[in-house]
Amino acid sequence: MEQLWSLMPEFWEGFKVTLLLLVVSGVSALILGTLIAAMRISPVASLRAFAAFWVEIARNTPLTLVFIFTAFVLPMLGVRAPYIILAFIALTYYTSPFIAEALRSGINGVPIGQAEAARSIGLGFGQTVSLVVLPQAFRMTVPPLINVFIALTKNTSVAGGFFVVELFATTRQLANDNGNIVLQILFTAAALYLVITIPLGYFAGQLEKRWVVRR
């Protein structure tokens, strides 16, 4: 137990990098994903097609392969950046289609009668979207978005295989160095991931139940 305690500073360092990966890639994926979702529902056909293409390709590429691209192929092409930046790029790219899909399904989930009613009392496009559709869509979007962030939390561990020393890489190193307490080390790492994912999941589940009732 004491030996495990003495490793806590290292776990904390790794955990901080995992959190950093989560926050930075989460925010940038949210921005990129919103952009893609906006393109996907826009009246401009070529933007719609581009967004659909993006979603389909990015969603069906394994994250490991995305990391191969950012960590090996990009440097070969002459991009010089620290590995953590490359990890941000990989995670942002990989997460963006999931964000876009969550947003789109939220908007699709608003019954069409809502928009028809808004139009029939004389609201214009801007008013219909901003006062009637988006407020309802937003509520429906939050639980799936949280789920995307849970997946992102778990996906940050892949960065550990590509030269970023976050929680997974730290765990692997510590387990190699302390052969006698491998089990404890692995459970500590699992607990640290669960500290992020379980509360998020609980929160998403509660919100989801609320809006399922309302529909």
Binding site: T61, I68, A189
Partner: protein, 314 residues
């Protein structure tokens, strides 16, 4: 909100013209971006005073004329598919078991199962692979397969549970009234229907499983990425890294896109199928990651409602 046209008036000639112009401008921008990227890739590059050919130069692609290379690549594909197939079957079996335990009437079976599911779902699959590799020292193949079974089994279990809950109550009551046991009713009457309803989401989950076999790269299983990038890449040298990457990506996309399309096609068929009266499919797009959350929440809600009703009746 599928028809966005309801949001605005039917466009007149001017709006249509503007929309067309915007569409063309956007298309040109996208094409321009593509041309720029391609020209960047095609340009010869110099490193340390030596000039190297561009990425599309024949000398970067000539290894693919060698049948031996394709033998290697197909070995990688087979290794990936093998892991995915074993894990897929295992995950479905585990999922069936978990969904039965999770919807059990006995509290001390149901509640620990729910905890176990939460625990397995919240952990990265990669950490699970490391766990199995270090604790059970099974070798890379089984580490990949068992971790994928555990992770995806919990999700498939939740999907199946949602399918069971969504069935009309009469199905179970009818089965019990013709003298079937609780278990018989589950296996012979309820499960086949739940499975069929949820098949599109399960297939979509199997695509996720297939993608996740690539994590084997990190724990040392020779699946397709490791075969192509590490083994072939280091044998033929850095010069072929780009072309090997492109080939690997193409293989993955071909497999995953066809499976995703199959899931969607199946979902449409289940949703509209036949002339008779059929319940609407559980979700509109099974490949949407939000689908699992949605069916789960519905199941939880239906269960708590049922619980309340039966306790009120009893």
């Amino acid at each position: 909100m599928t028809g966005t046209s309801v949001l605005f008036d039917a466009p007149g000639p001017r709006a249509r013209r503007i929309s067309l112009i915007l569409s063309i401008v956007a298309l040109l921008l996208i094409l321009g971006l593509l041309v720029w990227i391609v020209s960047l890739l095609a340009a010869p590059r110099s490193s340390g005073g030596i000039s190297l050919p561009g990425m599309f130069d024949g000398t970067r692609w000539n290894i693919f004329g060698d049948p031996q290379v394709w033998v290697f690549i197909s070995e990688g594909i087979i290794a990936t598919l093998q892991a995915a197939a074993v894990a897929g079957v295992g995950a479905i079996v585990l999922g069936i078991g978990l969904s039965l335990m999770r919807s059990s009437t006995i509290a001390w079976v149901r509640i620990p199962t729910a905890w176990l599911i939460e625990f397995l779902r919240g952990m990265p699959v990669l950490l699970m692979m490391l766990f199995i590799l270090l604790i059970a020292s099974t070798g890379a193949f089984w580490a990949v397969v068992i971790a994928l079974i555990l992770y995806n089994g919990t999700l498939i279990g939740e999907i199946l549970r949602a399918g069971l809950v969504a069935l009309p109550r009469g199905q179970r009551e009818a089965a019990l009234s013709v003298g079937m046991r609780e278990f018989q009713s589950k296996m012979l009457v309820e499960f086949p229907q739940a499975f069929r309803q949820m098949l599109p989401i399960i297939i979509a989950q199997l695509v996720v499983l297939l993608k996740d076999t690539s994590l084997g790269y990190i724990v040392g299983y020779n699946e397709i990425i490791r075969t192509n990038i590490n083994n072939l890449g280091s044998y033929y040298g850095n010069r072929y890294l780009f072309s090997l990457f492109v080939v690997t990506l193409a293989i993955y996309l071909a497999i995953n896109l066809s499976l995703s399309w199959f899931a969607r096609w199946l979902s449409r068929r289940t949703a509209s199928g036949g002339k008779g009266r059929r319940p609407r499919g559980p979700v509109t797009d099974p490949t949407n990651p939000a689908a699992i959350l949605e069916v789960e929440a519905k199941a939880d809600l239906a269960e708590s409602r049922r619980g309340r009703n039966s306790s009120a009746a009893g």
